[in-house]
């Protein structure tokens, strides 16, 4: 981006990216190890049942899932499996692999989360810009006060009220279920999930816009006699948007992991719900798989956000 892409800068960027990628490997390894040890240290096993099962059957089950092996062997076997992209069989659902559960659930989260994030940008950005331009007027106070409400009211309060209003009283939209992602089933969950993010985006955008509008180059643009809309759209917009990039990395992860509540309320078959069910039923492989998936997503999106940030902001220097 920009005209200053000298060869030295590009080389530095590639080096920086490689270094960050290499740095991500130990991080992921530590997350996997931590999760693995935590689950195995927990009291109670996945096959503890009320009624006593014959020891022979118990041994068979343990052998089948390699639970009879020493811990380090299980650990390295698991690491090897993950490297091949195999999260193993689910303990809870017979004949179902964790990969299957994830590949069925993830699209749900991606659709809802993607829509929520897109919506929050489309609504939050203009609100933030207007608030910054009309600083300390009612165009600033009221939307920002409302944004604070958006942050303070939890999703699980907003969602039932939305259902009551639009599904029960008005009967415009269905109250839940996925129905293969038909538009009418997606709207309410996405709106409920987007609420706090609209507020975050608006507040962040206001802050960075205020900062940019106070900087010397905007004074310069105004001194040249440019009309205000040109000052805002041509000069202030781009630098003010840069901080949004570093917000988007964690936000993507946030909408994906944060949809656990949404999935519960609307009865959606996403991975968040599968995760909570798995944790309650001690489905170790499922919990481990989803935790690692979340970890990978966090590392990947933070890395992506950092790289985009340094691409967009010419002031960034890599040591």
């Amino acid at each position: 981006m920009g005209g200053c892409g000298s060869a030295g800068r590009e080389a530095a960027l590639i080096q920086y990216t490689l270094r960050r990628l290499l740095g991500a490997i130990p991080t992921l390894l530590i997350i996997i190890t931590l999760a693995f040890l935590l689950l195995h240290a927990a009291p109670g096993g996945p096959f503890d049942v009320q009624k006593r099962i014959p020891p022979a059957i118990e041994q068979n089950i343990e052998r089948m899932y390699h639970l009879n092996e020493p811990l380090y062997e299980q650990y390295f076997r698991y690491l090897g499996d993950i490297l091949r992209g195999n999260f193993g069989p689910s303990y809870q659902y017979r004949d179902t692999s964790v990969n299957q559960i994830i590949s069925e659930g993830l699209p749900v989260d991606l659709v809802i989360g993607g829509l929520a994030l897109l919506g929050s940008l489309l609504i939050g950005l203009p609100i933030g810009i207007v608030a910054a331009l009309r600083r300390n007027t009612r165009w600033d106070y009221w939307p920002m006060g409302l944004a604070m409400v958006g942050i303070s009211v939890p999703v699980f309060v907003v969602a039932p009220i939305l259902i009551l209003l639009f599904a029960v009283y008005l009967r415009w939209l269905p109250a839940g279920q996925w129905d293969n992602g038909s538009i009418s089933h997606v709207i309410l969950p996405a709106v409920a999930l987007a609420g706090p993010y609209i507020a975050f985006v608006a507040r962040l955008m206001r802050g960075s816009m205020v900062e940019v509008l106070n900087s010397p180059f905007i004074l310069m643009a105004r001194a040249k006699g440019l009309p205000e809309h040109r000052v805002v759209l041509r000069h202030a917009m781009k630098p003010a948007l840069i901080p949004m990039v570093s917000f988007l990395g964690p936000a993507v992860v946030g909408v994906i992991t944060g949809s656990i509540v949404i999935e519960t309320i609307f009865g959606l078959p996403g991975i968040g719900r599968a995760f909570v069910d798995g944790a309650l039923n001690r489905d170790y492989t499922l919990v481990l798989g989803v935790t690692i998936l979340y970890g990978v997503l966090i590392v990947a999106f933070n890395l992506l956000a950092d790289i985009c940030y340094s691409l967009l902001d010419p002031r960034v220097r890599y040591q």
Partner: protein, 302 residues
Amino acid sequence: MTREPRGVIATEAEAPLAAAPGRSLWQDAFARLRHNRAAMASAIVLIVIVVAAIVVPWISPYNYYTPQWALLDLPPTLRGWHIFGTDDLGRDLLVRVMWGCRISLMIGAVASVVSVGIGVFWGAVAGYVGGVVDSLMMRVVDILYSVPFIPFVIVLIVMFGRNLFLIFVAIGAVSWLDIARIVRGQTLSLRNKEFVEAARASGVRGPQIVWRHLIPNLVGIVVIYATLTAPAVILFEAFLSFLGLGVQAPMTSLGVLVSDGAGELQSFPYLLIIPAVFLAAIVYCLNFLGDGLRDALDPKDR
């Protein structure tokens, strides 16, 4: 022989330096905070809620756990002073909401103290010692940043049982990362200030410098982040309670009340709306107060 005069110089040097700027900064900040009407209103609302949460369960004839089978799902009424009504077991909602406020505020307070404590210690040591120690400690923070926080807490609670103490510790232990980063940054810039150099030149030891010179200068930023961590923690507890992983019945929290109320929203909306209003009010006011403190203490904005 050399020790005694050293100590004398040190105490003389640090007393005026630590006290003088601190007082004026706080007076300044307080004056500015008083002019911030939103922040002051938030503080008043918070005080009212705290006092009510302490007093109401104490003076009320009702408790939070005894069912009254003749008074199920009573809408708000003056009869028997059930001004918030009763829940599906006939328990007085006012008392239950006040108990919910107690638990939620307590979780907010304890978890923020835990997270601020760890964060300040970690950040101040990393920033002050610097070098390899700094990069190692910050590497740990980086790695913990990548740990999927919500799943981890859920796993912890599911695996090791749901007691209140574990919830406090789990939430506190994972929310110190931001504070550690900010404190480290501040410490790095403070470390090279003249008064620290003066203290070091007069022979004050490292831990003493961190404790007497660096941490007092970090108080402002720490107060801000504690105020902003508390609402996040309260919301997180509510989230856990909503998933059925929070405090256990008959004890209650605002999260439990909200999630119970959500189930009966259609017939008895007040069961959701009243606790939700209290939850939102607490979080809203803490957020506004934190914002107000930040504006008041931020030297950039003067």
